[in-house]
Symmetry: C2
Subunit: 191 residues, 2 copies
DNA sequence: ACCTGAACACCGTTCAAGT
DNA sequence: ACCTGAACACCGTTCAAGT
């Protein structure tokens, strides 16, 4: 229900009272199921990130895995209104697991990269994708409300085109992916 | 004043009413100076990021510039409580300028990298640093309140050691910096 | 086990009115 | 030009009490 309300009305209107009303219940009833609002939001974040588990990375190179996981993460976040902001805060609060770490680490570990390095690489990619998409999504919803000058629009030609066009994102992700591949090889071979 | 209150009481308690009270004024008085709270917070963010202008990047390589700008950005964010979260949201809302773009672009432009690529690289670095520091700072303040299990602590040995130890951060930043250097060269020479 | 009802201690913002 | 006072329409959370 919270996920539905998030997508329909946005994060600022995702209040305990609205969720409760939509469930035809008092707001206080929610506190039997969740200790507080942040925990409830973390559960919503986990739902948003669920499709991450479908990515199969076994046969991929590090660079490929970074691109696939990064692109899928962005898709998950763009699938619901304000999802990037919500997930960003759940991640920062440590109430939700890293959405790409286990899969990326499976690949790097297979290639003999030390775990500490892999963890750091996974964090770098995650922070970039979430931050980028947060910013992107903010512009998208601001656009749809006509709140920004045209110059900052994302799709100047056709504002209602496919929403998940990757333009700069794909380029940046590829840069990072290739960069990590190179760095990881340096660290593992060179020491 | 808002910056002082932020550092002392944290972002959740940085309310219009508290700011006004500290200024010995009514909350409504603030609305003569700022159209809303987000704009006021953006002004605070700009103050937090002011030291970014002191970084001199003219003679640096791309990799050096990324490391210097990234490290300085993290220092700015760690200088005040909850600053990373505050700046993250101001950036996402587009109410504050990118803290590293102009300087990093000066370097890449000098090296003949196309602007579109440079912009994307600057965004990648910015999102990584802000996201990483946001997460880090959250753990720091959670630590100081004893709210997390010990396993997630940052400084297991000495919780009140130097607060700005870069451990993983420096490693990750170097990886990204080297990676970008390589990628940027590929793009410019290879096409 | 699960929920209600009412309260507590707050919010951001607006706006007529003052000086 | 700058601020007050009062109000509007909300918040998250707690807790005794109900079934």
């Amino acid at each position: 229900m919270a996920l539905r309300l998030l997508d329909e009305y946005g994060l600022p209107d995702l209040t305990m009272r609205h969720i409760a009303t939509a469930l035809e219940v008092q707001a206080s009833a929610l506190y039997w199921h969740f200790p507080n609002k942040q925990t409830l939001l973390a559960a919503v974040s986990a739902r948003i990130l669920a499709p991450m588990d479908d990515v199969r990375v076994e046969e991929m190179t590090v660079s490929e895995a970074v691109r696939q996981l990064g692109a899928r993460l962005r898709e998950c976040l763009l699938a619901y209104r304000d999802a990037a902001e919500l997930v960003s805060s759940s991640l920062a609060l440590g109430l939700v697991d890293s959405p790409i770490r286990p899969q990326l680490m499976a690949v790097t570990r297979r290639d003999g990269v030390p775990d500490s390095l892999s963890r750091v690489a996974a964090e770098a990619v995650m922070h970039f994708v979430v931050g980028y998409t947060f910013h992107e999504q903010q512009r998208l919803t601001a656009d749809s409300f006509g709140l920004l000058p045209e110059a900052t629009s994302l799709n100047p030609e056709d504002a209602s085109a496919q929403p998940a066009e990757d333009g700069d994102f794909g380029e940046a992700l590829t840069m990072i992916a290739d960069g990590l591949e190179v760095s990881v090889r340096q660290y593992t071979s060179g020491g």
